[in-house]
């Protein structure tokens, strides 16, 4: 149940929204054209900060001046701000889809498709320089699955009392990361976090209680990690000072869509990468060299793979500062092949548990930064 009074941490957000609107109102009163200043959300507007370990937003700003052709977006952004203010004031939330449906009451200013409302929301979020959970909007997507010796301390939704969740007690299932995790606390004796690309590999490791054997926490990312997943891993790793190791397919998508986004954030959400990145993450495998060392079955690279490699080497700020990654990508391009995590099964279904992971863990030199 949403509470009616405004929590203290939300007051700041409300003030910021009111400030923007008031400023705009006065500008219009003075017969000047108001502007919406939104940081440009693209890979071209980020730089990799090696010290901080994540993508930092550069100063490029997209200024949208109120004219006949921008007035629709203006009206929609302001409507979205009003909705956000209302949500934050009443400590309520709306999913992106719900916000889209709320707009159906806005008459001519309504959104026709959800992507339109998502874009306006992302712009507003960037404008506020906070993450969207703080302005009352939550994503639909699931955060990821957790298994291992970890106690997550949450609050009871009804009573607000402390709620201890033991992640070893989910049997063949797993604990699911909530979409907002700022309030979570952790207790663990594990030595490291292992983030896994595919649900299938997670299932295998969970089934054989690999977390017990290696004394680690397993996280299934299910493709590109969601914001919640990134935030959860970051908070967990920070709070418990745990190293994070990433286990992905050996292909450009695994390297630079999944691993890179987890470690340093994305171009699209650059304004919040500070919180949604895991700089301590390291790439455990599968590396291109692993393909050779473990004689893995492969698939040929496709046209899109070559394109992605070329694009990453040329444009990705993280890759540009990493000799190792450039070498790895060039090696892959030369080998003309890629391999999936599951390819390890060619040497026996549990080869990954008995041989590959222990080998790799003992050999940090074979990791990639």
């Amino acid at each position: 149940m949403a509470k009616k009074e405004t929590p203290q941490e939300n007051v700041q957000v409300v003030k910021k929204i009111v400030d923007i609107a008031e400023d705009m109102r006065l500008t219009i009163k003075n017969q000047k054209q108001p502007q919406l200043k939104i940081p440009l959300r693209a890979l071209s507007n980020v730089e990799y900060d090696a010290n901080e370990g994540y993508f930092k937003l550069l100063k490029n700003i997209k200024a949208r001046t109120l004219t006949a052709s921008t007035i629709k977006t203006f009206a929609q952004t302001l409507r979205m701000m009003a909705l956000s203010k209302q949500l934050v004031e009443t400590n309520d939330i709306a999913t992106k889809r719900e916000a889209y449906y709320v707009s159906k009451n806005w008459g001519e200013a309504r959104f026709l498709e959800q992507p339109e409302s998502d874009t306006v929301m992302d712009d507003f979020e960037a404008m506020m320089k906070v993450n969207r959970e703080q302005i009352g909007f939550i994503p639909e997507e699931k955060g990821g699955d957790i298994a291992g010796e970890l106690v997550v301390i949450d609050k009871d939704q009804e009573t607000g009392k402390e709620l201890r969740i033991d992640c070893t007690k989910f049997g063949s299932g797993a604990y699911s990361v909530p979409s907002s995790c700022e309030h979570l606390k952790f207790e663990t004796k594990a030595k490291f976090v292992l983030a896994i690309e595919t649900a299938g590999m997670f299932e295998r490791l969970n089934k054989h209680l690999y977390w017990k054997k290696a004394n680690c926490i397993l996280i299934s990312m299910g493709g590109v990690p969601t914001r919640a997943c990134r935030r959860f891993v970051r908070m967990l790793a920070d709070a418990q000072k745990l190293p994070v190791l990433v286990f992905c397919d050996s292909d450009p998508y695994g390297f630079f869509s999944i691993y890179r986004t987890l470690k340093v954030g994305s171009g699209n959400a650059a304004h919040i990468n500070e919180f949604f990145c895991v700089p301590q993450a390291k790439f455990l495998g599968v590396t291109p060299q692993d393909i050779i060392d473990y004689k893995l079955p492969t698939h040929p690279l496709k046209e899109v793979d070559y394109k992605k490699i070329k694009d990453v080497i040329k444009n990705d700020p993280f890759c540009k500062q990493s000799k190792e990654w450039q070498k790895a990508l060039e090696q892959m391009a030369k080998m003309k092949v890629r391999a999936e995590q599951q390819a390890l099964a060619a040497w026996g279904l549990n080869f990954v548990i008995d041989k590959y992971l222990p080998d790799k863990l003992n050999n940090p030199k074979t990791w990639l930064p």
């Binding site: 609107a21 219009i28 054209q33 009206a75 806005w106 200013a109």
Partner: protein, 563 residues
């Protein structure tokens, strides 16, 4: 089998007179069906009347009357205020095919062959058996004389049935023809009504008084008191002369030598050029024309083509003028945009010609159907055989999409548009004797396309401007749509009073409208437009003929689409 001897067959072999030939092939002259016959008869009579008046430098006033005698029988009376025809000439002009003043000279007149009016007389005689009645008066002091004549189809000679001197009160000079024939009167785009109206459009110096079979009188008064410049007769240009014509010219020339023949009978041939031609033809300049053999003529013909000769003078033809053409179109079509152009003179086969074009776009015209085409040749409207005409083909070959009209490949463009094309020349090349379609000479096609493109460019400027204005007003309606939302959201966030909100809305209006500036306006004002005038010929097409004519075209189009 019975074998016939050559002698037997020879009994059936005899000369065919030209009149007999056309009696059997009247479709070649435009008398193939009753509706078209009515139009062709009027057309031939009016063309002749106008030519006669202009040649005599008299402002033409033509009276046309159609009387329905029976279901399918009509009487046509056409009377002009021309110079009249001397008594001796009347029978030959009206009663002998291929007799006329215009075939052997080159000047921009309506008639060319000397077939038209006598063919109408012949057609009347064929369908009703009645003679034509001609009255002509050449001056105030001369009496008018009346003739009733028929054509002897075997000899192609006039046959006078009656002749008399009669008083013609109130008429100083002029000619009147009256014939009865089988016909069918229908309204529509191929009607006599339409023909006379279009004639008025491109002949603003002409007054036409027309009484149609419904006894309605339509008056097309002249819009200008000046005759167009007199068409100048020119000698043929060597490039345009065919072998047979060259042979004939050599036979009848009075020149003493080939050199003299070339310089005297042709335009743009001086002594130097004549020598050059003879040299290229390997003939002696002092050869006597009478002694030139057929082989030598062929050499001469080749020699001409091999010699560089200056293009013919172009001052022998005069266009209607872009302004006049546009003015006529304004009267007929109520559109939003008009433009017109007159191309500089060009030459095909040694004949100078000028192409003019005009476009009327938008307004009350149907936006979905194909464009309306109005074709003219030497100020004569062409109503039939649109599909076979070079003008139509040039329109199809022009890329109209870039000018803002819709067009599928190799077909006529579609849109709210009327296209007018006029060709004037000392010799207009028609595809047949009925003179309804221009022949496809590349030079002519090229000029038509250039004229259309010139108009098209102006049209695209207008279409773009119209689109801009449409977008602008769309943006303005945008402003009005969303200002309340901006104000309401701001009020919701900042909690200002309703009064402040109203002020905010006003401020927003001022701010946004102000930065947009004045709205460009497209005012359409066409004082020239004459609604009654435009209605003539615009009635429902009810001709079966028309539909049948269009069918094969459509089938072809479908074929192309499938391909």
């Amino acid at each position: 089998m019975i074998v016939k001897s050559a002698e037997e067959l020879a009994k059936k072999q005899r000369e065919i007179s030209i009149a007999e030939f056309f009696e059997k092939n009247r479709h070649l002259l435009g008398f193939d069906n009753p509706r078209r016959a009515l139009l062709t008869a009027v057309k031939e009579a009016v063309d002749n009347a106008l030519d006669a008046c202009e040649e005599a430098r008299v402002l033409p006033e033509v009276n046309v009357e159609l009387i329905q005698l029976e279901e399918t029988r009509f009487r046509m009376v056409v009377e002009d205020n021309g110079p009249g025809i001397i008594k001796k000439q009347v029978p030959k002009i009206f009663g002998k095919l291929l007799y006329g003043s215009k075939f052997h000279k080159l000047s921009a007149t309506r008639g060319q062959q000397g077939i038209g009016i006598s063919a109408a007389v012949l057609y009347a005689q064929l369908t009703t058996g009645k003679p034509a009645t001609i009255i002509s008066k050449t001056g105030k002091d001369n009496p008018a004389y009346q003739l009733k004549l028929k054509i002897n189809t075997q000899t192609n000679e006039p046959q006078i049935l009656e002749e008399a001197e009669i008083p013609w009160e109130g008429k100083e000079h002029g000619t009147r023809i009256e014939i009865d024939f089988e016909g069918s009167y229908m309204k529509g785009r191929q009607s006599v009504d339409e023909y006379l109206k279009e004639t008025a459009i491109v002949n603003p110096h002409v007054t036409i008084i027309y009484t149609n079979p419904e006894a309605t009188q339509l008056l097309f008064p002249r819009a200008m008191e000046e005759l167009p410049p007199e068409p100048r007769e020119i000698k043929p240009h060597p490039y345009g002369v065919e072998l047979g014509r060259l042979l004939k010219m050599l036979e009848i020339t009075s020149a003493k030598t080939l050199q003299q023949f070339l310089t005297e009978e042709f335009v743009r041939v001086g002594p130097g050029t004549a020598q050059q031609i003879c040299q290229n033809a390997a003939l002696l300049p002092n050869t006597k024309p009478k002694q030139v053999s057929r082989e030598m003529v062929e050499k001469l013909h080749k020699g001409i083509q091999a010699t560089k000769i200056i293009a013919p003078p172009t001052d022998s033809i005069s266009p209607i003028g872009a302004d006049q053409l546009e003015k006529g179109l304004r009267k007929e079509v109520n559109a939003e945009f008009y433009c017109s152009t007159t191309r500089p003179p060009e030459v095909y086969r040694g004949n100078p010609f000028i192409i003019e074009a005009s476009i009327a776009f938008g307004g009350e015209q149907d936006a979905e159907s194909t464009v309306r085409i109005m074709r003219f040749a030497n100020r004569v409207p062409l109503l039939y055989q649109q599909g076979a005409c070079a003008i139509t083909q040039a329109i199809q070959a022009t890329a109209w999409r870039s000018y803002g009209l819709q067009q599928s490949k190799n077909s006529l463009p579609a849109g709210p548009c009327t296209l007018v094309v006029h060709m004037t020349s000392v010799w207009v090349p028609f595809t047949s004797e009925s003179k309804e379609a221009l022949a496809h000479y590349p030079e002519i096609m090229k000029e038509i396309k250039l004229a259309l493109q010139e108009c098209g460019r102006k049209l695209s400027l207008f279409v773009n401007k119209k689109r801009r204005i449409k977008e602008e007003s769309k943006k303005r309606s945008y402003i009005e749509k969303y200002i309340p939302h901006v104000a309401e959201a701001l009020q919701e966030i900042t909690k200002v009073s309703a009064e402040e909100k109203k002020k905010l809305e006003e401020n927003l209006y001022e701010l946004l409208e102000h930065t947009r500036g004045e709205l460009e306006e497209l005012t359409v004002e066409n004082p020239e437009y004459d609604e009654e005038f435009a209605k003539i010929g615009a009635e429902e097409e009810d001709s079966e003929q028309e539909k049948e004519q269009e069918k094969p075209e459509k089938k072809e189009k479908q074929k192309k689409l499938i391909e």
